[in-house]
């Protein structure tokens, strides 16, 4: 698979789905805009088309993409908001918990950690 944007080990179809979600979040892909075809995704990432299809299907099931028969795949209206909602839910386990664990190892108190976050947010 090309690029450093995709890490080893985790199911590739999940990574493909997350990448498309990321592009929706960043407004690189806009709502009602067309998503690259399965063959385009497969060729670009140098992955099996079945894997690309699985990734796209995750997003179709989640209502983030929708199919227009014979034309292709499109970003659903409201997709950005629902991606954001899902990511917020995962934020705690993905980012906050590891942060707190690492802070604990370094004997950084919750107060100090809060202070650091506040300072970082100001920048």
């Amino acid at each position: 698979m090309v690029g450093d944007d995709v890490d080893e080990g985790r199911p590739i179809f999940v990574q493909i789905a997350e990448q498309i979600e990321g592009q929706i979040l960043d407004c690189v892909m806009r709502e009602e805009g067309q998503v690259p075809s399965i063959n385009e995704l497969s060729a670009f990432h140098r992955i099996n088309p079945a894997t690309a299809l699985k990734g796209v299907n995750l997003l179709v099931e989640a209502g983030i993409l929708y199919k227009r028969r014979g034309i292709g795949m499109f970003v659903a209206p409201g997709a950005r908001e629902s991606v954001m909602a899902r990511r917020r839910e995962a934020f705690r386990s993905q980012y906050v918990r590891p942060l707190v664990i690492e802070a604990g190892k370094l004997a950084i108190t919750p107060q100090q950690l809060t202070h650091m976050i506040e300072k970082e947010s100001e920048q």
Binding site: H45, R46, I47, T51
Partner: protein, 296 residues
């Protein structure tokens, strides 16, 4: 139910006292890219020769499209077998190989073949025996892709091809496969390079089939945990351990079948939780001397 394109039932091949393939049973479904992975000498080539009727089985059956491949023109006409050791008639030039292929393979795409030959920079008028190893491999790859055979078998098709040419091969194979889906069975020990191309994985070790699995499922099936020895040991207990290393008070272990909840629990215990690539997983399953070779 559709008939699998490739099937093996208890397939076994002995050469004198050596058993090259032992009791292999598997099926490859229509439309997909299946990798046959394993170290050198693990039995990949013998297995492919059995599947295409170029060797007689000592026991068991090989089937292509539901029929025995041995002396079966109907079945072999739907199959394209590309191997490193392909022998060409003495006087053959590259263009003769392509012309012969156009007669043999009913779905042959001559325009695609020309395009690929140009891309691999193979001189059409040169005699096959005067080509470099890489150029000969490139001709095989061109025939394999342009044949558009219902079943294409590549046996380590890249000998002598440099990294750039190998990636041309992967790209063009994927591209053409996307437009013309078919069944591709490819043996290789360059697991990292082809891992993402595959939708199914067969791993052979010392003649035995040790993994027969969906590539995506396999990829998520193992996890490496690293951290304090006692914590790692607690997680490893009662599980299949693929690798185990320890250094002082630290240990690193590769386990299969950890649920997401268990991974979070390990993380909460302060362990590093690292996913395992297909290559690492296969190295773990075909251990011993295989490690260095597969990792190289």
């Amino acid at each position: 139910m559709t008939i699998p394109v490739v099937e093996a039932h208890g397939l076994t091949k002995r050469f004198g006292a050596v058993e090259a393939v032992t009791d292999a049973t598997f099926a490859v479904a229509e439309h997909g890219i299946c990798g046959l992975l394993g170290r050198n000498g693990s039995g990949k080539t013998t297995l492919m020769h059995l599947l295409t009727g170029q060797e007689f089985a000592s026991a068991g059956d090989a089937m292509l499209f539901g029929q025995s491949p041995v002396e079966n023109a109907a079945v072999l006409g739907r199959t394209c077998f590309i191997k490193e050791t392909q022998i060409y008639p003495e006087s053959f030039r590259v263009k003769h190989v392509l012309r012969a292929a156009s007669w043999v393979y009913p779905h042959w795409d001559a325009a695609l073949a020309d395009e690929l030959v140009a891309e691999f920079d193979v001189p059409l008028g040169r005699r096959m025996k005067r080509l470099s190893r890489g150029q000969r491999s490139a001709v095989g790859v061109v025939v394999g892709i342009a044949s558009r055979a219902e079943l294409t078998i590549f046996d380590e098709p890249y000998a002598g091809l440099d990294a750039v040419a190998r990636h041309v091969f992967y790209d063009r194979l994927l591209q053409d496969y996307g437009v013309h889906p078919r069944t591709i069975l490819m043996s290789t020990h360059l697991i990292d390079e082809v891992a993402d191309l595959l939708d199914h994985v067969l791993v052979i070790d010392d003649g035995r089939l040790v993994i027969d699995a969906d590539a995506d499922e396999l990829r998520g099936s193992a996890t490496t945990l690293a951290g304090r020895h006692s914590a790692v040991q607690a997680f490893a207990e009662g599980r299949e351990v693929l690798t185990w290393d320890s250094l002082g008070g630290l240990a690193t272990v590769t386990l299969t079948g950890l649920s997401d909840a268990e991974k979070s629990a390990a993380h909460a215990e302060g362990l590093d939780v690292v996913p395992v690539s297909l290559q690492q997983l296969i190295v773990g399953r075909t251990r011993g001397t295989a490690r260095e070779e597969l990792a190289s």
